[in-house]
Amino acid sequence: MNTFLQLVVNGLGKGAVFALLALGFVVIFKATEVVNFAHGSLVLFGGYLVVVTRDALGWAGASWVGILSAGLLGLLLERFLLSRPRHADANALALLTIGVDVIVTEEIVRRLGDSLPFIGEAWDAKPFQLGGITLFRTHLVALGVAAVLITAFWLAFKFSNWGIAMRAQAENREAAALMGIRSSRVTATAWLVAGLLAGVAVLFIATQDFSGAGLSRGTHSIALAAFPAAILGGLDSTAGAVVGGLVVGLVDALSAQYISFDFSKSAVFLVMLVVLVIRPSGLFGTRERTRV
């Protein structure tokens, strides 16, 4: 029972991180209908800047630099690449992000070389006991941070001008533009937010508690699990991203313990496949209708 409880808490902690990543996907998708395959490279980029600036600024300062620069990279990608071909198909732009991902990831992995730095100093590898079960600090902090960020996001999404503009644009792009909503600004902010969330997530991913591996190509693969999280919940549902993230975290933690560690990565994707066969647009996604 204790093991199970421990797994659930750890799974939720992991899930919170996946939720942050999935939320980034969903925000970009809602604003632009583009699926961002470069999300993993945003994660790596944020982490890499933490590594680079850590000696000069200390860990706390470096993490801020990492988070902000991941956001900035997202913003720059949107401004300089994705906003260029104005009438390009959203799917073509998704392919473009694959190209971006290859370049950014390969370069960062090259620069990291053989060093695989851990970057969660403030909470990494400091487990503590609570009521007979061992808990990882990383997962608990991740849960807390994710709860705060997701609540803040939800409030902004519901009540702020940006949130309303964003939802209007997701509903009907042309009508929103006619109402005076600056579509380019909404899109740019969406990429900024997604980048910032990715920058936060990497501080938890490249830790001993979370993955047991430092910043590397493996971090990029872990970030890929945010795909099933976003798709599970439905690509255009922010609530779905959170639920999807938690489901992925739980499936990952439980299957690693009860089936095998190797299987846990596949298990996440398997669950996604099952959900997609039953509900092709995810749990909370808008169903597509075809009219003739």
């Binding site: 090259r110 053989d114 596949s266 066969v277």
Partner: protein
Amino acid sequence: MSEGVASKQVVEAPPEAPAAPRGRRSPAKLLRALGWTALLVVLLALPLYLDAAWLKAGQYMMIGAVGAIGLTLLVGQAGQLSLAHAFFLLAGGTAYSVLSGPTDDTRVIGLGIDPALSLIGAVVITALLGLAFAPVSGRLRGIYLGVASLALVFLGLYFGQSAEKLTGGTSTGRAPTPFSLFGFPFSNEGPHIEILGVPIQQAERTWYLFLLLTVLAFVIARGAVKGRIGRSWRAVRDNEAAAAVMGVSVIRAKAGAFAVSSAYAGLAGAMTVLWFDILKPDESEYGTYGINVSIAFLAMIIIGGLGSVSGALVGALIVNGLPQVLSLYSTDLGWFTGTGGGALTPILVSSFVYGAAIILVVLFEPGGLAAIGRRISRRNGRIPEEQGT
């Protein structure tokens, strides 16, 4: 997102060429046929001039070509995005190794079937696997399908690691049975053959085998694209409802495209195993059958132009050829001498090149190289190609 992946990228089919007078082929068609023949003659003659290392590089490009043709049919013609190509590569390679493997091996399972039959068997098995994915591929569209197909790569990774009896496991892998056709081995054994004083050894023989397979793959794909099947794929890609109204079975077209594409990947997988002379499953998502391979194949067909069969050949030449050629040249010129972390390697450089190529193609020429080729031939007053082949 409602339509297929490629609907806006593939340049619509230009109007039909004016009918040539009966009994005489139009000069443009004749010229094109002549061009293909010349290319084939050059490819047939190359083993007489190139040494084994270059032939090996050429074979790797042909593997890419076979896989890319399959993927371009699926993504470009049928409008289904797939990131699962690497999985079917692994499946094809494993199927060939298991079918042809020796029966007396205690470590891995082998069925001892004739290698040529095993190759056909591997293609059939991967096609069936692709068909088995139909419940998913038939229901999902666009990006949803792309991510769902990513699941197969992860399942393949797990399969490679855990089914050691079939794959040989990640640490040692298993050696495939060398290919032979009607008793003629594609290795250094068997009868000694010489053409123009050049001994035809393993490298040359494998070159001809791969060339034959690539030509077959190409001809069949062209036939499919030009014929009824290709038309039904494009109809489904452009508008499923309209296609259904026209009498196309949407489910059958989608499942068929996926099965055909998987079969191509399976063939490419068996070729990969023969090329490496080992089947060795990956330890992580990044490797011979990893996500990076799926993305490389996607890069080939984006660069070549989605849906274009000849474009896929050029894409394979660039994406699979570049690392090979760079490393061959680097030994001569002393490039890429650095080792360890932070070093530039031929593979890394080619990744940068094809990553950038994807970006440039999407930004400036969504039809890929095929569209550029089409424009050149149109400017020269020739008849435009049909159906973006």
